[in-house]
C-alpha cells in the first residue's frame, strides 16, 4: 500500500505558520521602532543643547542665555552613589541569607515583602522618605532622596543576588566545605566570586533603574540652583532638572530639558550595556 505523503491541510498549516511568523515579526518591529523613535527624537532635540558648559556650569536664571546642569550631574552622582553604598551591603547580605538559609517562614516572608516592595510605586516610596526623613527634620535633603532610591534598589538587589548565589552549583560549595573550609570562607572566597558577575549585572541594572526615577526626588532632594555637595541639604539632580525645565514655559529651558533627557538616556544605555557585558562573563564562568 503506497500511502500519500502529502496530508490534507498541509497548505493551510503552512499558511498559518507564515502568518504567525509575519505577525510576530511585525510586532517586534513595532516595539523596536517605538524605542528607536524615542531615542532618535531625544537625540535630535537634545544634541543641540549639549556642550561643555552645559555639562559643567550652573543653571542660569531665566533670560540669561547659556548655563548648564553641572550641579544636577554632581547631585545625581552623590545621591545615587550614596543610595548604592547603602543598598549594596543590605541587599547582598539579605540575598546571601536567602540563598544559603532560605527555608522556613522568615525567609519566605522576606521574599514576599521584597516582591511587594518592588511593586510599590516610586512616588509612594518618595512620600515615605518624606515622612521619615524630611518632615521630622523640617527640611529637604539629598540624603532623604538617597534613602528613597535605596528602597527602590533593595528588592532588585535582594532577589537577583539570591538567584545569582543559588545558581552557583551546590557541588562547588560542597567541594569547598569538603576541603575543610569554614562555611564563611566557602561563601566569601568561593561561592561569592563565582556569583559576582551576575550580582554586578543586577547592581548595574538597579542603578540604571533609579537613574531614570524622578518621582521620589520631588519632595526629598527638591532641587537646588547651586553647587551642593552636603547630603543634608537640598540638592539638584539631573532628572529633577529635566522635569522642572520641561514643564517651564521658557523655550531655552525646554531645550535644556531635552539635553538633560539625552544625558539620562546615555547613562542608562551605558549601564545596561555594562550589565550585558558582565552577564556574558557570568555565562562563560558557569559554563563548562
Amino acid at each position: 500500500m503506497n500511502r500519500d505523503l502529502s496530508t490534507r491541510g498541509l497548505g493551510r498549516r503552512r499558511a498559518m505558520g507564515s502568518l504567525g511568523t509575519g505577525l510576530a515579526l511585525f510586532c517586534a518591529t513595532l516595539a523596536a521602532a517605538a524605542l528607536l523613535a524615542i531615542l532618535g527624537y531625544v537625540v535630535v532635540q537634545g544634541i543641540g543643547a549639549i556642550n561643555w558648559s552645559f555639562l559643567t556650569q550652573l543653571p542660569h536664571p531665566v533670560g540669561v542665555p547659556g548655563g548648564g546642569v553641572g550641579n544636577g550631574i554632581l547631585g545625581s552622582l552623590i545621591i545615587i552613589g550614596t543610595a548604592t553604598l547603602m543598598a549594596v551591603p543590605i541587599g547582598l547580605l539579605t540575598g546571601i541569607y536567602l540563598a544559603l538559609f532560605g527555608r522556613g517562614p522568615v525567609p519566605e516572608a522576606l521574599r514576599f515583602l521584597s516582591d511587594v516592595l518592588s511593586g510599590v510605586p516610586s512616588i509612594a516610596i518618595g512620600l515615605f522618605a518624606y515622612a521619615v526623613l524630611v518632615a521630622p527634620l523640617k527640611h529637604f535633603s539629598a540624603f532623604s532622596a538617597s534613602f528613597g532610591f535605596m528602597m527602590l534598589m533593595l528588592p532588585l538587589l535582594v532577589r537577583t543576588s539570591e538567584q545569582a548565589i543559588r545558581s552557583v552549583p551546590q557541588t562547588v560549595r560542597e567541594g569547598a566545605l569538603a576541603l575543610g573550609m569554614s562555611n564563611f570562607r566557602a561563601t566569601v572566597s568561593i561561592v561569592l566570586p563565582t556569583a559576582m558577575p551576575a550580582i554586578i549585572t543586577a547592581l548595574l541594572l538597579a542603578i540604571a533603574r533609579v537613574t531614570g526615577e524622578t518621582a521620589p526626588l520631588l519632595f526629598t532632594a527638591f532641587g537646588s540652583q547651586f553647587w551642593e555637595s552636603n547630603p543634608g541639604n537640598p540638592m539638584a539632580e539631573l532628572s529633577l532638572q529635566v522635569f522642572t525645565y520641561a514643564i517651564s514655559p521658557y523655550p531655552s529651558w525646554q531645550s535644556q530639558a531635552w539635553g538633560g533627557a539625552l544625558l539620562l538616556i546615555v547613562a542608562v544605555f551605558v549601564l545596561s550595556l555594562g550589565a550585558r557585558l558582565f552577564l556574558r562573563r557570568a555565562m562563560q564562568g558557569s559554563g563548562t
Binding site: T171, V172, G175, A176, L179
Partner: protein
C-alpha cells in the same frame, strides 16, 4: 569482635550508622570497617544509599538541608560525631572527590590545588606543594605550563584529577570518591582508575561506583549495598573483592553481580 576485625587494620569504622533526610531514613544500621591503605568499593544499584553512606564519613552529609546522622563513625578510634569534634578538622583528614568535577571556577589551576593548603607560604613553597599534589594526581605534566589558567579550560578528566590533587594537597588520611568516573569517557576513566591504584600506596580510599567492572578492577575490598522494601539502604555483604565477585556469601549479592537483579 570477629577474627577478621582483629587481623585487619581499620582506619575508619562505622557502627550502627543511620542517615536521614528529614524523616526519611536513607541508610540503616551500617557497620563496616575500611582497611588502611586499601581501596574499598561501595557498589549497589541507584538509591541504595552508598553515596549517602560515603557522605557520612566526612560529615558532609549534614550540610544538606534537614539531613542528620545517628550512630558513630570512628577515625583511628575517635568518634568523629562526638560533640567536641570540629567537622572542618575531620574534612581535612578525610578528603572527598565528587561525582562531577567541581573545580572552583574563579580560581586558577594553581590556586585550586592550594585552596586548602596552609596560608602564608611564600611563592616558591606554594608552587612546590602544588607540584607535589599535581604529580600525585598525575596531572603535573599536563598543566605545568598553565598553572595560572582557568581550570574550566581543562578536559573533564583533567578537571577531575585537579579535584583529586586539591584533595590530596591537604594530606588527608582517607580519600572518599563518589563515582569519580561517572561523568568521564572510557579513556579518562582508565587514567583515574590507574591513579587510584597509585594513590592507595599513601591513602585509604573509599570509592562509590555503580560500575561493577570498575569495582572488580580497582578495589581490594568490595561492599554491596541494597535498599530494603522500605527504601532504607542496608549493607548486605562486604568481603575481599575477588571473593565477593566469585563466591558471594549472600544470595542478593549473587543476584546483583550476575545481573539477575530486579
Amino acid at each position: 569482635m570477629s577474627a577478621e576485625a582483629v587481623t585487619v587494620d581499620h582506619v575508619l569504622t562505622t557502627e550502627d550508622l543511620n542517615a536521614y533526610y528529614g524523616s526519611r531514613k536513607a541508610v540503616g544500621d551500617v557497620s563496616i570497617g575500611f582497611g588502611r591503605k586499601a581501596i574499598t568499593a561501595l557498589i549497589g544499584p541507584s538509591g541504595c544509599g552508598k553515596t549517602t553512606l560515603l557522605r557520612c564519613l566526612n560529615r558532609i552529609h549534614e550540610v544538606s538541608f534537614d539531613a542528620r546522622v545517628q550512630g558513630s563513625v570512628r577515625l583511628d578510634g575517635q568518634d568523629i560525631y562526638s560533640s567536641g569534634v570540629d567537622p572542618m578538622a575531620i574534612r581535612r583528614r578525610i578528603g572527598m572527590v565528587f561525582q562531577r568535577p567541581n573545580p572552583f571556577p574563579t580560581l586558577s589551576i594553581l590556586d585550586n590545588t592550594l585552596a586548602c593548603a596552609a596560608r602564608g607560604l611564600n611563592r616558591k613553597a606554594r608552587v612546590e606543594s602544588a607540584e607535589r599534589a599535581l604529580r600525585q594526581a598525575a596531572l603535573w605534566d599536563e598543566v605545568k605550563d598553565k598553572l595560572k589558567s582557568n581550570p574550566l579550560q581543562l578536559s573533564g578528566g583533567q578537571q577531575q584529577r585537579l579535584c583529586i590533587a586539591r584533595a590530596v594537597a591537604a594530606e588527608p588520611d582517607v580519600l572518599l570518591m563518589d563515582e569519580p568516573t561517572a561523568s568521564l569517557d572510557p579513556i579518562a576513566t582508565a587514567v583515574i582508575e590507574e591513579l587510584m591504584g597509585s594513590l592507595a600506596d599513601e591513602f585509604t580510599i573509599v570509592a562509590v561506583t555503580h560500575n561493577m567492572q570498575q569495582a572488580a578492577r580497582v578495589s581490594d575490598v568490595t561492599a554491596f549495598m541494597l535498599a530494603d522494601e522500605d527504601g532504607i539502604g542496608r549493607l548486605i555483604e562486604v568481603d575481599e573483592t575477588a571473593k565477593l565477585f566469585t563466591k558471594p556469601a549472600n544470595r542478593k549479592t549473587e543476584d546483583y553481580i550476575t545481573g539477575r537483579f530486579g
